[in-house]
């Protein structure tokens, strides 16, 4: 609206209020996120006189008390939770990334058109299953089966060679870090597949045609053109799903066993995760313990923040790359 055009008042009335409303929408959203971070940060402040940040992150153990002089002594170690969160998420993504990416390749490149649409829909439905429903299934069905199949098999075959894959075969644990990782894998596979599908679809068609024209097989086209071109975007998809796994609470809580005081010696024993610990301990927490939970929450936020920033950068780079090649 530049130049010599003149607007009279009646034309422009409503413009300003409307803009203000739309700006208000953004401001409320930004304000809520700022408040979220601010409140959680403020609540964690109570912890720092009693314990320094480094000790909080690296030590194990979870209790706080007030001694006779009124001074607060705390020994909240977040390390078992941080370890559990990262290890379960890594197990999850290691399993989910190949399955999700190959499933996406199948949907875009190989599936007959009649099959592609319903399969895509199915994958999206898995993503929409509430996590507590997956958790219920994992607790009742999946967990005992994994214990008696994969875990037993791995532990009895190579368990004595690799200490962190061992298990006492006479007393298998009801819950374990490994199983939480597998449950996470199931939950994030659809997300990997959905995002990867978008990335693979945006690989320029001319690149595929070029390779097919030279007589390449389907797999060679996938390996030599699609995967290299989509690499950055696919990595972003996996990272995005990793971020989702890091924050997953309920399903993990139901199968991980909440061993909050120490890092388990093997993957087949109970562990803990940040989100699950917050959900489990807030109820009876003392003021200082709430501070520790806020500290946990803050570390969870920082982890997911870094992942979000990284993913967006990767996705931007991926889109630029596709445009350059098209």
């Amino acid at each position: 609206m530049t130049g010599n055009v003149r607007f009279n008042r009646s034309t422009l009335s409503g413009e300003l209020p409307f803009r203000l409303i739309t700006i208000a929408g953004v401001c409320i959203a930004v304000g809520l996120v700022a408040a979220l971070v601010g409140v959680i940060f403020e609540r964690s402040l109570i912890l720092w006189p009693a314990e320094d940040l480094w000790t909080f992150i690296t030590s194990s153990g979870w209790f706080g008390k007030v001694d006779e002089s009124g001074a607060v002594t705390a020994a909240f170690g977040a390390w078992p939770m941080i370890w559990g969160t990262i290890v379960t998420s890594i197990i999850g993504i290691v399993v989910a990334a190949p399955v999700g990416i190959f499933a996406a390749i199948y949907l875009v490149e190989l599936a007959p058109r009649r099959l592609a649409a319903p399969l895509t829909f199915l994958v999206e439905v898995v993503a929409a299953i509430p996590s507590v429903v997956v958790g219920l299934w994992a607790l009742g069905e999946l967990s005992p089966r994994l214990r008696d199949s994969v875990e037993w098999w791995v532990a009895s075959s190579i368990g004595h060679l690799i200490p962190w894959l061992s298990e006492d075969p006479t007393q298998p644990s009801d819950t374990s870090v490994f199983r939480a990782g597998i449950v996470l894998a199931i939950m994030i596979t659809p997300m990997v597949a959905a995002v990867s599908r978008e990335v693979i679809r945006s690989v320029p068609q001319s690149l595929r045609e070029g390779l097919v024209g030279m007589g390449a097989t389907k797999w060679e086209t996938i390996r030599l053109v699609i995967l290299p071109t989509a690499r950055v975007g696919l990595f972003g998809a996996a990272l995005l799903a990793f971020g989702r796994a890091v924050g997953e609470t309920i399903a993990v809580r139901l199968v991980i066993g909440m061993n909050i005081t120490q890092v388990p010696p093997t993957l087949f024993q109970p562990g803990a995760s940040i989100a699950a610990q917050i959900a489990g301990a807030y109820g009876e927490a003392s003021t200082i313990e709430k501070g520790a939970l806020a500290g946990l929450g803050l570390s969870l936020f920082l982890i997911t923040l870094c992942i979000s920033l990284l993913v967006r950068t990767l996705m931007w780079r991926s889109a630029d790359k596709m445009r350059a090649k098209a």
């Binding site: 409503g14 992942i307 979000s308």
Partner: protein, 290 residues
């Protein structure tokens, strides 16, 4: 030279060992890819079968309509709670999300728009438990564990869903439509409301349905904020049950009957999530934005 005459071809079309290897590798890898695609779908089928077989036997009208302490036991309080809290949250989050999406796409400069995209990413990436923790610290001390607190937690989680979808579908509206409207002398805000948003309406509705689906499926934030109650009266000032929270609480029970009840609740929730997904699918397929 006649065609019938056999001449030695210049190119040898017979397969070399190298080609045979390439074909074999191709077949093996395509097999692997297909296996992976099947693997991705197996959990859904497994979950679906188990929920159906365990949940269906105790599903009845009285299960849906009775109070939890009545005989036979029902989950009307949880259904009400889920719907009421998600309902309030969508009423609060839809206008905020739509307004924000419009601003980022229609009014913001290129730079702000990119920043906005980044911001939505960050907000979408906030683990739901943190929304619960935030409300638990900020609002529960004032209002107690209550339906209001649960609604606020869900609102925080639903805003970015609406905002992301709105922004994406509005971007797809062709500039020509806007320009035509502006050229007719329609003010920009009216163009935005009656042309741009009108065109993208089905996409925006999809965002709203997605947000509702997220709200109905959340457990952790409600556990910290609205907790649960066996009261069937709708009172937002009091603790309120939700289906997800009821499933979670019943899942770990030692009473097999209560665990069976959790499966039935899961069935109800699953069907609801499924229907919402079908709705989204149906809308986006039939009214693809422009």
């Amino acid at each position: 030279m006649s065609r019938a005459e056999k001449t030695p071809t210049l190119i040898d079309f017979s397969l070399t060992p190298h080609d045979i290897r390439r074909r074999r590798v191709n077949q093996i890898m395509l097999g692997v890819i297909q296996t992976m695609a099947i693997l991705a779908v197996v959990p859904l089928v497994a979950i679906f079968i188990v929920i159906l077989s365990k949940g269906l036997p105790s599903l009845s009208v009285s299960y849906l309509l009775n109070a939890p302490l009545a005989e036979p036991r029902g989950i009307i309080n949880a259904i009400q709670g889920s719907l009421v809290m998600t309902g309030i949250a969508i009423v609060a989050s839809a206008p905020i999300g739509i307004a924000g999406g419009i601003y980022l796409n229609e009014y913001a400069s290129e730079r702000v728009s990119r920043l906005g995209e980044l911001f939505i990413d960050i907000m979408l990436g906030i683990p739901s438990i943190l929304a619960g923790l935030f409300v638990y610290f900020a609002i529960v001390p004032l209002l107690g564990h209550s339906g209001w607190a649960g609604s606020v937690a869900l609102t925080v989680l639903m805003i970015p869903v609406v905002m992301r979808t709105t922004q994406e579908v509005i971007r797809l509206v062709p500039a020509g439509l806007r320009e035509a409207s502006l050229a007719l002398g329609v003010p920009q805000w009216k163009t935005t409301v009656f042309v741009t948003c009108r065109t993208a309406l089905s996409g925006i509705m999809t965002g709203i349905v997605l947000a509702i689906s997220r709200g109905l499926g959340e457990t952790a934030p409600l556990l910290l904020t609205s907790q649960s109650s066996n009261d069937t009266a709708i009172n937002l000032g009091q603790p309120m049950s939700a289906m997800t929270v009821v499933i979670y609480q019943n899942a770990t029970s030692s009473d097999p009957q209560i665990v069976a009840s959790a499966w039935t609740t899961a069935l109800v929730l699953f069907v609801l999530a499924f229907l919402l997904n079908v709705l989204v699918r149906f809308r986006t397929v039939n009214n693809r934005v422009v």
